[in-house]
Subunit: 195 residues, 2 copies
DNA sequence: TTGCCTACCAAGCAAGCGCTTGGTAGACTT
DNA sequence: AAGTCTACCAAGCGCTTGCTTGGTAGGCAA
């Protein structure tokens, strides 16, 4: 049994387990010892990979936000129809919140207040690209009369509505993710989606 | 300077300061010592009024939820017009989230996961009366064709949208609470509010 | 073969945590 | 006047926390 499994393999595993634990229990209630145990090392060894506990949270968010931006950009560019585009954005955000990357996404959505002021600002800056995709799409929709609400306010309300689903929506119920996205879009648009 | 200012005065002050601190810093990041200092006593003396730290959080939520139910019920009964009623509910919830009682309301909205499983269930049960008022109004609106979304899902989406405003809405900006309530209702209803 | 580097262990430190204990000043009751 | 109760203080206990330190096994390069 080699002491060195693979370069940076442990670091990735630490980030993954941290995302899971932070989501399930919250950042403050998760101890470094608990995280270390989850990947099979001792607590002190965690600090060989990260300089502080907060840096772990930061890395969880950073890698997650990168992924979120990629996914949302792809969704945005998947169609040129504005209505369809907004549906895809909604659908993608819900997918992010409930799919395989849900742990990190939930943490990025709801646990930024566990960061210090500086890192909070850093994360907020990273999210800006993500929010800009939303704002662009909403502004397009407003110009074409598909929505009659302010893009800025609308996006913030939508952020809350979508993010909050992690606390009540269960994938295995009879309400599928598509249905949920449909319900959200019914609020967003005055008329049902065409096509 | 009398040792006994007034009966249960300190307890009320403790709940108020706890609500403020829990909102500003979160439950875990607020220490009993810090709370004690905020009301001018030593940390041990807090446990003369409460049996545990968690009981303080529970009391913050309990008293807050009582107030929320009263406010929402009053709003619901203030009009018999369904559209107007829903607007009043939205307006009232936003008022609760940003008015004088905002500390406790924010805590009740976003910090229930800091409670143990038993107390979580207890709080959830208390909120049921609050949610029922919403569901009744939404069901009425659906029957009259004012909305075309599921009341249950709609309420949950609305919970997130409204609750999330505590993280971005600022009272002193040019967007007033009335304007905000109006924007929310534009999402909710297909047509602008009449009257 | 020597020497360095990575990834870890073993042990533990200082600080802070929630909470307990024993005692007491002052108000209230009888 | 005596006894009781409330609301607190002073001190500290046991425990957990994030993090540090010193050392070492194994892989790799010269």
């Amino acid at each position: 049994m080699p002491r060195t499994p693979r370069l940076d393999d442990r670091r990735e595993r630490l980030i993954g387990e941290a995302a899971r634990l932070f989501r399930e229990q919250g950042y403050e209630r998760t101890s470094v010892r608990q995280l270390a145990e989850a990947v099979g090392i001792l607590s002190g060894s965690v600090f060989h990979h990260f300089s502080s506990k907060e840096e772990i949270l930061l890395e969880v968010m950073r890698s997650t936000i990168d992924h979120m931006i990629d996914s949302l950009r792809e969704a945005s560019e998947s169609t040129s129809d504005v209505e369809q585009r907004l549906y895809q954005l909604v659908r993608t955000e819900l997918e992010l919140l409930h799919g395989q990357t849900r742990d990190g996404v939930a943490v990025a959505f709801f646990q930024w207040h566990s960061l210090g002021a500086d890192n909070q600002r850093r994360i907020l800056a990273m999210r800006e690209a993500y929010e800009q995709i939303w704002l662009d799409a909403l502004e397009q929709a407003r110009r074409r009369g598909l929505i009659d609400t302010e893009p800025f306010v609308t996006r913030r309300l939508l952020t809350g509505a979508n993010g909050w689903t992690i606390y009540w929506y269960q994938q295995d119920g009879k309400l599928g993710l598509d249905d949920l996205a449909d319900q959200v879009c019914r609020l967003l648009f005055k008329e049902p989606i065409t096509g």
